[in-house]
């Protein structure tokens, strides 16, 4: 790296001067609340002078069926949204590339609209898709097939799919945009070289486009994992802060929120802290994959 040989003597404190504002805010608004959260999770429920209870909350969580349900739902939800969004966005980006240049910005913009919309507005618009008999999905697809209208938000078999569908609707366009930007950055020379070897466009996609897009796809996946575990507004408006029928749509943040509402701050923090190792695992996996690419 060229940057290394530009050190000037006596300027060792220079990088820290640049880092200082960031580190200051990092400490105040991230490290301190995080430590506060860990501390809270080791104390009895309630704010203020709660007594120290050690790992009690964690032990209780291990036996708490709703916690297990929430974890399982969050996992399923996150995984499902990645599995649906990534291939779909790749395909849409590919289609967009084939259209005329003049139309492309308009279409990208249309696809991106949901990502620009506050999640609570999205949830309300989404209700129209799901809202009982009058919803579009039932009106246009389910009922014409002669089936009973599906109650998407009440039937435990469908709630989670409903939430996944909402995420797909929200993020697919955004991810398409990223992937499209990535595709347009791939040097044309690579394709010209590939054309000398084979004419199959599928092979071009597989051996040129996909490997070149790896950093983008990695970013997309990490983004969706984090978003999946922090979904609040959407599920909050759709399910009114509950987990839905039989907790079929109970996600971890919703559960944290429910505990907070009953002032069970210790338990709420324990749930949050218990997710950290899982998210760190995701980070490690991402970095590991990145290193293997490089």
């Amino acid at each position: 790296m060229a940057a290394a040989d530009q050190r000037t003597p006596g300027a060792r404190w220079m990088p820290f001067l640049f880092l200082l504002p960031f580190l200051f805010f990092l400490l105040i608004f991230w490290v301190i609340p995080l430590v506060g959260g860990v501390k809270m999770s080791l104390h009895a429920n309630g704010l203020g002078r709660a007594e120290f209870v050690g790992l009690e909350h964690y032990q209780a969580l291990a036996k708490d069926e709703r916690y297990i349900t929430a974890l399982r739902n969050s996992f399923t939800y996150t995984l499902a949204s990645i599995v649906v969004i990534v291939p779909l966005a790749l395909w849409l980006a590919h289609l967009l590339r084939a259209t005329t240049r003049r139309l492309r910005p308009v279409m990208t913009f249309a696809l991106l609209l949901p990502a620009l919309t506050p999640p609570s507005v999205l949830a309300v618009l989404f209700l129209m898709l799901f809202h009982g008999k009058n919803g579009l999905l039932n009106q246009l697809f389910v009922m014409p097939l002669g089936l009973e209208p599906v109650s998407w938000l009440k039937d435990p078999d469908f709630i989670l799919s409903g939430l996944v569908l909402q995420t797909v609707w929200r993020w697919t366009g955004f991810m398409t945009f990223f992937i499209l930007a990535g595709m347009e950055g791939i040097p044309r020379v690579y394709y010209e070289a590939a054309r000398l070897v084979t004419g199959s466009r599928w092979q071009h996609f597989w051996h040129v486009t996909l490997p070149q897009l790896r950093p983008v796809l990695l970013f997309v996946a990490v983004y969706l994992v984090v978003d999946g575990f922090s979904l609040f507004s959407g599920a909050f408006v759709l399910l009114g802060g509950s987990g839905g029928t039989a907790d079929a749509g109970l996600l971890t943040v919703t559960y944290v929120f429910q505990k907070t509402r009953f002032f069970e701050y210790g338990t709420a923090s324990a749930i949050s802290v218990s997710l950290l190792p899982l998210l760190m695992l995701a980070l490690w996996a991402a970095l590991f994959l990145r290193r293997r690419t490089a």
Binding site: A3, A4, Q6, R12, M14, P15, F16, L19, P21, F22, F25, L26, F29, W30, P33, L34, G36, G37, L47, L95, L96, A98, T99, P105, M107, T108, A110, L113, P114, L116, T117, P118, P119, S120, V124, L129, N134, L136, Q139, L140, W169, F178, A181, G182, G185, L213, P215, V216, D227, F232, S233, F236, V237, V256, A268, S272, L275, L279, A282, L283
Partner: protein, 278 residues
Amino acid sequence: MSAQGKTVSGALSLLLLGPFLMAVFVPFLWMVLGIFKTNAEFFQPLTSAFFPAHYEWQNVVELLEGKWVPFWDVFGNSLAVSLGQAFGAVTLSAMAGYAFARFTFSGKRLLFVLAVALVLVPRQLFAVPLFSWVNELGLSDSLLGVMLPGVVTGLGVIYFTQVFRQVPVEYLQAARVCGAAELRVFLTLLPLVWPALLSYGMIHFILAWHEHLIPMLVLTSETKQTLPLALAKLYDVSQRTPQGVQMAASTFAVIPTAVLFAVCHRKFKSSLSDMLVH
């Protein structure tokens, strides 16, 4: 591929894209049309009453006059918080990114990993301790209490580290040879990376504009609310807000981010293309 083949595949792509564009666009169209509907019209099956019978501005007027929520206060608050947060995030992250990209120092790797770890911890998870800490700092029910916690972003640091790595070294050396102080070097580089600054500022503005949980905990008085909070209140069934007013507020909530994106679109995409693949 021949020119003709290109046209055919273009048309086919359009045909395949059609349903997706519809699926995204129709709900928004319905939202805007909903502004003009009476409650009775609104709840009819969508397929039979997609368009309103009359176009009247009654609902928009009621919303803007503040009959349901102090709309201009709320809108102004959201703008102030989001702009402030975006500006702060860009400043902090650009400076930190510059340090990571251009210097070697002990603890660099560790600090960088810490920044990356930030991305992966959703702030929502630690909303409660953050909230009680913000109270202790004396920032409860103040817009600063919502704005400041959001200026720290791991994503921004990673982004700008990448951006400054790509600035050709010659520029730096030229600036240094002229004897410019390090801070001056940084400032002279800023116009060069202008699209990147704008792009990240936009992304962060959008995220701040959408934030719901933290304002909900921190802000209590009615005139200090931000848009997502006001929207949640309007949507609440017990408030009996007319549906048309709800749709008008929803539309106004989308307009700033949509306009911002439409304006910055090109810069944003080219700066992404430059970065993502390398």
